[in-house]
Symmetry: C2
Subunit: 431 residues, 2 copies
């Protein structure tokens, strides 16, 4: 074969990094000043390098290392086989409780396994696309749209990380009341052109968050709005909020925890419920869909197991009349490119996707992806169409290597204790 | 780009053919002496030709012709876009009744549309694979097995087509009682090495078919057995047969018509129910799976809309704990290759697939596919790994062109009337 077309994996590089994260608030606490991500590079015998990205906490890093070794000698086309590989997940790292910080639903060994594998799948697809001269979307059956719409991801936010804590400065300012939220939303529209808005809630008493959404509705009349308290509410509170905001909400996201409670809220209100906590694995779908607990699944290619599983999920949702959109955790440009490629191939994607990317001032790319009118263009360059900046990668990796270990595992609760000693995540439902 | 890598479609050729079919019996009547198939060829600017195959009746041919024109100028990678194309289906051809001959469940305009599109999808995948030097399975995420198991598809059968009717002779002889069925099964094992057996039932009163399955169980102890009366039975009859054969059946296939009746049979027996009639589209899944009406879906890439939809379906089945295998109508080697490629990529394929291929003495390939130990090897040659025999294609097309129109639309009921004047398909349930 010609150079570039020997698709055998000859090397896999794993680079954990710490990237700056602003002091964004959620029901568990506050984002740490730096958050861990793992950059995966898959190199083929033909000299092609593919990029992937996933969570970088220790529990992801540990199984990623032996998995990297198992890829050597395999073909980058062998994606179904990749997901059949044994991934050594440390069960003690999985607490069968709602995941910290990520707020990605209940932690399970299988979800952890898929979250690791997905970065390797994306890296293989990127390498394959580059080797063949095809964009990743073409490897997924081709794009059905030329741009993918994202929503402005609004957060209650402090002006800066607590005193005495390292961290990069950000220019977003504080947002701790309706006026602050509206101001943040305006900045999002000015900078990136977003036209739909999601507010991360579960931080303040529901009436304050209702007021914030009302203020957004007044400032941006007719624009799609979402509120996501990450399961912090009771069924009764959820029903009340749904009724009070029903006229302005595109959907209410994870107001309560668990399928039975979500089903009850859904049955008692006409507001669609979206989720990235109730349905986060294929195993959770049957009960939730049968009971009508969710109307929109927010997929996340990291924990659903890659771009092809995201497509499977979308088809499944279509068959059950359930909508589909996309969830986001703190992530870098590799994952935004991956999200954009797969989102461009999903016919039934009818809601703007979430992305934390505007909050990330740091990246590992030579050129950041940009939002134009709230949309990311779907590129036709080979692979994901992004290039690693090795100096930046090395810089962010050094930060990880030099960390004393406290920031290598994201812990929003611990970060909150710096400002509020004795803080523990309130038991759900908090309100 | 180098030759072979300009993936723009420059020509699409459609060739309807009539291929010999033995006098196989089913609940609607008997197979015609010749059955129509449509061969699709997609040619790229790079000079690559990809092959696809689907049903060849007039109602498929009509929408295929304008669709062929719409492909010109498109990329063979653009498969999601392909399925978004408007396909002009003649609604008057769709009767919202159980499809003739094919016994593919209720006819709908959408199923007809997908049945046409699927041949173009397969042809595009074949062309893409050839252009890239990759087997089709690699374009589908890679094979997870090196061979795909098929079952022996046993039919009640006359020794020859009725006197005065054209048709090729076959050497299988008649099979009209338990001894004949067992003899046919022995020949299947001798010729192809099959180790599981499906009997197409609904032809004789249930007690005769029970006796045939018992005879198979005695002749092939421990081998997986299936019985498929194509919905000819009542719920009571189905429950009785399930109870009488429960100890030897791998599954019972479509004993009754419709989700409510299937659900009742499933609830009253412990025998898994398989289907290619109750669930044949994504739209039918929700009710059937919610009600537990089916335990195994027999996918068919022709009417489910191609190889990638088959993978979506398999993932959906896995999420609901429903098994998956593969249905077959009369088909040629292009479709057997396509079935084999996609089947090799489905992790949760736990039952041998059906195939009529051993009944087809004629093909359009330079080299027929073969069963070894009942299995077809999954090739690694580019594309589907099959080559058209243009002389054979022309010969079989001439048969179609010279037909007076009677055989261009499969009609097992009309074929039966040649032997039994006045025959009409008995109303279901027949027994």
């Amino acid at each position: 074969m010609t150079t570039g077309l020997d698709l055998t994996v000859t090397e896999v590089r794993l680079t954990p990094v710490l990237v700056a994260d602003p002091p964004l608030l959620n029901t568990q606490g506050v984002h740490q000043p730096y958050t861990p991500r793992l950059i995966v590079e898959v190199v083929t015998a033909g000299g092609i390098t593919g990029y992937g990205e996933t969570y970088g906490d220790t529990k992801y890093l540990e199984p990623a290392r032996p998995l990297a070794g198992k890829l050597i000698g395999r073909q980058v086309t062998d994606l179904n086989g990749l997901f059949a590989l044994d991934v050594a997940v440390d069960a003690s790292r999985v607490r069968d409780a709602v995941d910290v910080g990520g707020l990605r639903g209940v932690q399970t060994a299988d979800k952890l396994r898929l979250s690791v594998l997905s970065a390797f799948e994306v890296a293989c697809l990127d390498a394959l696309g580059k080797a063949l001269g095809l964009p990743v979307h073409a490897l997924l059956g081709g794009k059905v749209r030329d741009t993918v719409e994202y929503s402005a991801y609004l957060f209650y936010k402090w002006g800066a990380h607590p005193e005495g804590v390292a961290g990069e400065k950000d220019d977003w300012g504080a947002a701790l009341d309706p006026a602050g939220v509206v101001e943040q939303a305006r900045r999002f529209t000015e900078r990136h052109g977003f036209t739909s808005f999601k507010l991360k809630g579960g931080v303040f008493p529901p009436d304050e968050e209702i007021a914030a959404v009302r203020a957004l509705a007044a400032a941006f009349p007719g624009h799609p709005l979402r509120l996501d308290p990450n399961g912090a509410w009771s069924v009764e509170t959820s029903v009340r909020v749904a009724r009070e905001l029903g006229d302005v909400l595109e959907y209410l996201e994870d107001p309560v925890l668990g399928t039975p409670a979500m089903a009850e809220v859904a049955a008692r209100t006409g507001v669609p419920l979206a989720t990235n906590m109730c349905v986060t694995t294929f195993a959770e779908i049957k009960e939730a869909f049968t009971r009508g607990a969710v109307q929109v699944v927010l997929s996340d290619h990291h924990y659903w197991g890659g771009l092809r599983n995201t497509q499977h999920l979308a088809t499944l949702c279509a068959a059950f009349g359930v909508g589909v959109s996309m969830h986001s955790n703190t992530h870098l440009g590799i994952s935004l490119a991956a999200m954009t490629h797969v989102a461009s191939t999903v016919p039934n994607l009818h809601h703007a996707c979430d992305s934390h990317y505007p909050w990330q001032s740091e990246d590992v790319l030579t050129e950041r992806l940009t939002f134009d009118g709230g949309r990311v263009a779907v590129g036709d360059a080979p692979g994901l169409g992004v290039e690693l900046d090795r100096d930046r990668l090395a810089f962010l990796h050094r930060r990880w290597a030099e960390d004393d270990g406290r920031l290598r595992d994201r812990d929003d609760e611990a970060a909150m204790r710096v400002a509020e000693p004795g803080w523990v995540t309130p038991a759900a439902p908090r309100w």
